[in-house]
Amino acid sequence: MNITLVGPQNAGKSTLFNALASRHVTTVNYPGSTVEHSESDLRKQFNLDINLSDTPGLSSLTPSTADQQVTVDYLFSDANRADHILAVIDATQLSRHLYLVDQLLDAGFQLTLCVSMLDLLKKNGQTLDLEALADTLGVPVFATNGRTLDGIPELVDYLRELRPLPEPMQVTPPEACSEGAVQSRHAKTRAVSERCIAGTLTTDVCSNRSIDATLLHPVWGLLIFIAAMVVIFTSIFSFAAPFMDAIDAATTVVVNWTKATLPSSWMTDIFADGILAGIGSVVICLPQIIILFLFMSYLEDSGYLARGAMLIDRPLSAIGLNGRSFVPLLSGFACAIPAMMAARTIHNRRERFLTLMIIPLMSCSARLPVYSLLITFLTDNPLHQGLVLAGMYFLSILLGTVVATILARTKAYKSKRGAFQLEMPVMRNPLMTVVLRSTFSRSMNYLRKAGPIIIFVSIGLWALTHLPVQTVAPGEDAEYVSVSESYASSIGHAIEPVMKPMGVDYRGGVALMMGFAAREVFVQSMALMYRLDKPEDDDPEHDRLLVGQMRNVTWEGTDQRIFTLSTVLGMLFFFSVALQCFPTVVVAKNETGQWRFALMQLFGYTILSYVGAVLIVQTLRLCGVA
């Protein structure tokens, strides 16, 4: 049978869902929409013949956002009607949360009530009479705690005995209600709450007034927020680095070993350079994903994330985003992949999509080796180099702001500012099991869903740059021969007229194409295509040695230089905008559930980066800069 979980935000609904579903979760779009919800087949976990669906938080059946509208429509649609509803409410918010329950009962839903946060109620010096509540409402009531798993076995036993009604539930959507109706419903739920809760509020744990005075203080609160963000950012940036280096080194060892062991043929190459290297490029993102989600789940479970979002909401709302966009955007400066996954904490779909749209513009760490090389070309002075690099970060923020501002005014992303009601969850000590469970499930979701496509694309990209198979004469550079005679090279030749306005020839075009595997690949593929003598990666003189050779590269058959001030500036712009990262495209598809979004983003940014680079190169040349 189908059971749907319904409840207000912060009531513990998703925690209960995760406790029941464990790791058997699939993400499903509501029919005909892009709003997602999670589903789980409870046969796997508890041998229950139940398909459990989670829903986004609802404070009432009168929807206030587009997402809530979709959820309410889903609850009432004939085709998807659940056989039973599990309503989840917070005991410390009994009267407010019973409002939704009362509406559900009025509409005719068959439901069972799960009451969470009874431990907090007890700390407040109060108790809830569950039997009295069940009698008053006329529905079964369970005490559940999805964090500690208290009450879950009892709920599971109950669900095992539950049978669907012979007839589907007959429900009627609520009519447009009046203020009077709202007030009398509140009066009713308040009376129920007063009847069922015993004891007077002694130590109101839930109000957090004293903590909030500091955490939400315009000065101290902001300092705490900045400190928390600095910790997160430096962690994903530096703690992840040794793990990523190790994965990178391990991949190289495995690839080389495979090539040395298996008979030398194109099939060995596609296995080693396509599949194994592809697996490497999937796994290399895991350290950053795990670290980011450990921090995010910790902050979310503690109740801090909502508070941070409130502090920073004003400046972000000015460009159509909201306070919850901050952590994903900041993470985008390390890597777009965990950043896009982190955007799930943005409840409003429109703001989530807008955030996903501009994340790839944030200057990620994979751009650094490319920037470093190109900036070394521009200047030898370390101070000037630093200034240009800072300028690139500034450019990335500026572009993100401009793109978000423009898109927020288009039809697809337009909404009136103001629909922002952020309920602050109770501040509490996060449970490590909850944090670990959520980090694990996000990482597994990435591996299972994005992993296979990334490997597939990696094989395709390898084939494009290495097929058809070439015979290499002794003494020739095999890698150079296969790439320079590949399909990619043919495409490079064909599109040379398009690349020329950017100031590069077909070899530069091929190197740029190879950079779609990952931006940092550009440096080595450029060295390969222009037959530069590539220094070791850890050589401190790496960039200077390469730049020295780049200055001598000329258009084939002429003495006209390719890498000039204007082309390098154009390329810097190109790299700051182009979505040169296939794994990001795959994750964007995974996070939005649509290829359309991912491909629009890919082509949109690639075209924008190309047009911008051409404008820069041509304008500079008109002004007499080579």
Partner: protein, 71 residues
């Protein structure tokens, strides 16, 4: 009086709601009902949004919406 006259730490009783009817209804469904006590808990940068405590919970509202609440 409008809610804008409240300062940090102030508590007041909601006397009514005035403004776009959809917003007023939503706010009431959330718990901002006439007769309830509302407390100004915290303000963020630029005094927007502001966090209010009502009915035992803390809710942050942007200025446009909060302006509908009369005290």
């Amino acid at each position: 009086m409008t809610i804008e006259t409240m300062t940090l730490g102030n508590a007041a009783t909601i006397t009514g709601l005035e403004g776009p009817s959809a917003t007023c209804l939503q706010l009431q469904e959330l718990g901002f009902i006439p007769g309830s006590t509302i407390t100004f808990v915290a303000k963020s940068l630029f005094r927007d949004p502001i966090a209010y405590q009502v009915e035992g919970t803390t809710i942050a509202l942007r200025q446009e919406e909060a302006a509908c609440i009369l005290i």
